[in-house]
Symmetry: C2
Subunit: 248 residues, 2 copies
Amino acid sequence: MVVMATRDVDTLKYERVLHVLRSRIQDGTYPAGGILPSQHRLVAEFDVSRPTVIEALRLLRQEGLIETQTGRGSFVRGKAPVLAAQSANPGRRLLDVSEVDSSADLLQAGLVVAPTRVAVLLELPPGTKVFLRQYLIRDEDGPVELVSAWFPLELVTGTKLASPEPLDEGIRRHLYGRKRLRLDYAVERTLSRSAVLDEASSLGIDPGAPVLNVVVTGHDAQGKAWQLVDAVLPGDRHELRNVYPLTQ
Amino acid sequence: MVVMATRDVDTLKYERVLHVLRSRIQDGTYPAGGILPSQHRLVAEFDVSRPTVIEALRLLRQEGLIETQTGRGSFVRGKAPVLAAQSANPGRRLLDVSEVDSSADLLQAGLVVAPTRVAVLLELPPGTKVFLRQYLIRDEDGPVELVSAWFPLELVTGTKLASPEPLDEGIRRHLYGRKRLRLDYAVERTLSRSAVLDEASSLGIDPGAPVLNVVVTGHDAQGKAWQLVDAVLPGDRHELRNVYPLTQ
DNA sequence: CAAGAGAACCTGTCCTGTCAAGTTTGGCTA
DNA sequence: TAGCCAAACTTGACAGGACAGGTTCTCTTG
């Protein structure tokens, strides 16, 4: 019966409610452990329908900012967990390294015979040649991470992967743009092992020192692995940290 | 006294739709890459309203089983990633160890002076005594994981934590039942280091061998840490694995 | 024959309502 | 005073509809 107001993408109603509520949680208007106004009150305040309020609350819940109990209300949780999905999967970042924004030195970019572990994970016959891009990431204290990205040869033709220059966009984006390759899921393996010689010299640690090794493979919808990224971190100086809400 | 009208989960309409669609995806009725019937058709088939269908599809999307594009439809994704939340946080399991269901031997349960790292993470003065429960988890090949759970003393009084017998329920559940303590979020740290002597002898590895160390702290809504669980895994024989969907 | 207009689908957003079920509170009763 | 109970809250699950805007296919037109 009523003509809607202009509905811009930026002015989605549940987005507006979500944004205001999130701000109030973060600035302490609704303190940790405190209760939010009831859905009914929020409907009145924002002049939207209850489903819209419910949608905003659902998203806050998904972000881990609130917790709601039937018959009681929604309560502010203790800590704002930063984008759980992001930090929970350190390897996602690896699959998408854009080499420009971090202080990374390209160590090598070229063809090599695949080491056994790489061949196995990429499902290639032993001894197959693959393309390797390897770089070293530093922070103010020196080298902190040795990253190796491995690709099957068929993926390299027609892309800039073989170029010795840094890519100006993320690897995944580049592959989609050039080859219409769309990665569907990732498998991430975390293990502890001793540094081999060249790792030790690159990272400036003792050979044999314990390192944290994160190995991520990117797969298409059919399950084929197209990309393998291997990150080596000095074990005693760096740790992976992850904060997430505990739901009952 | 009250008649519990058991509105079990199976009678919820969106649960029914969800379950049927999930089955069809898993048995290949809707193959990977294929398209699902439109919301309109699902409304007709299941005789529910569109919001109900939308809710089921939202959950499938959240599980990583489908992906939907505006104006086109919902498509089946490549691989069913098993409960990403669970596998992404190996430490969540640790906070909730129920010592009965796994083959775990209780090594010790008693008061000890907190090691520096433990005192720091539990925000206690150095030298404070804390309670330690330590056990060893085995599989068919022998010991695979050395787990230490540390608690501030104030938490132990009035609970069964001090008892040398295995708990018959999860630790978190036990703490909530006895002390109304409700953990709100967890911080998980993963690092690689060398095994110390007693770890090595418990796990049957060489002293100094690389081990994977997962340290999880459980915090209440105010940010106070109440529980610290430390798992040590032999680095060369075990890896943490995690599968998750790659959303664009 | 190629390009463009439009119809027919599709999902996303948002509305007004309805009923069920859990929680809290205050007043009444034994 | 202690305990029960009903009213008044709360959230949860649905229905059925409306419109906006993206995508695809077909049919008409230059």
